[in-house]
Amino acid sequence: MIATDISIWIAAFFTIAATSYVFKDNIIFKFAEYTFIGVAAGHALVMGVENVKKYGWSHLKGGEIIYIIPFIVGVLLYFRYHPTYYWLYRYGIAFLVGQGIGLSMRGMVHTDFIKQIAATAGPLVAETALGTLNTIIIFILTITSLTHFIFTVKQVHIGTMSWLPKIGRYGMLLAFGAAFGNTVMTRFSQYQGRMLFLLRDWLGIVAP
């Protein structure tokens, strides 16, 4: 049974409009894109205001006066657009960039470096023959793809050694093929979700 809710009709219009650029770039799509940008920026603003209220103001109201500092630094961010006092914006950005790097760097050395080496440095022999073969292939691909990214040590790329980065490159291309296959599935499954919306929620052809 076809939808009667105006919200569903508007959503259907925008779903079709957002698909139209694929067939031919047109003004309806341009309208959809400008609408998307406006609403998205408005939503970010709303989330910003609510977060400041929920996580800043509630502390201040609770008597924690020290939370006035993030308020001041937060307001200073907007001096970015000021012709002469633009540099005041740097205090907030510096704090966010520093904290962001600190939070990821501290864990990254553990999960992206140490643990990955520990996994590769494990035994090459597994219970089954296939398991052993797989472990050896994983080991070779990890080592060779690493050699591919060595740029200042020339010996790795000369003579017989140069086979290592070559194998590494082939391994990565095979892996990118798998990633490409999964990306095809990602984009299709996203649009198929929209097709489900159009045929079920909008036109009512498909049973709920």
Binding site: Y55, G100, G107, T111, A179, Q190, Y191, G193, V206
Partner: protein, 276 residues
Amino acid sequence: MGLEKVGALPRWLVMTIVVVLMAIPLIKPLGILPVISESTMDYYNAIDQLKPGDVVLFDIGFGSGGYPTLGPASIAILRHCFSKDLKVVIMATQQEGAVIYPLIMDKVKPEEVYGAKYGEDYVFLGYIAGVQTAMAAVLGDLHSAAPVDYTGKSIDTLPMMANIKNADDIDVVAYLTTAGEIAEGWVYQAYSRYKKTTCGGWLSMMTPSLKPYYDTGALTGMLDGIRGAAEYEKLIGEPGDAMKTTDILNLTQLWVLILVILGNIAFFAARGKEVS
């Protein structure tokens, strides 16, 4: 040698066939059940082995872009949690998470289906800005990081939050996201910093670059896009939109394979002609 004409189908026809192939299985479902992969099983087991009253921190780390695939996955995971009488603390590290939450809860219906009450069995903290800063803050000291829930009501008025103060009171961290920064962020904060059992789900295009975390045990479970979502729906025995969407993959992906074959036949036929 008219074989190269095989590669000359007009562009609009190729795309229109895609639309048609998407509609057919929706009207007449093929109903082929997906095979369960190990990573989805691990995600499921991480939650299934919890006892009633255990706490799950669930992060809605996606927005409209991920909704068609990760929406159904969230519904399946939350249904699983409520069916086991777990306490669920929901938060959002992606801006749109705050407005995705009601869409998910309309489908899960915790009150009607599972008798779960807001404030006693589940709570929604809303969107918290700062990505990894938000994760580290909530895990470090939840009441200080998020003193109020998404409606602005103080956390202390919610009974369940009395004994959920920080990471030590959380048993499993489960998240779904479309952003690499969020997927990696939970590995660095929930697993590396606070040693939590962490399960991550994302779009399948992200799986290759995040699989090393699952392989080395940083992530206990992993949901690989719509495939993972459909498998999870099958595991909890409640077929939903993920299974319907996966059903369509059968025709559209085969059409892509046919096109790759036709394209290459035409390519080699044309090259054969040039050579001779």
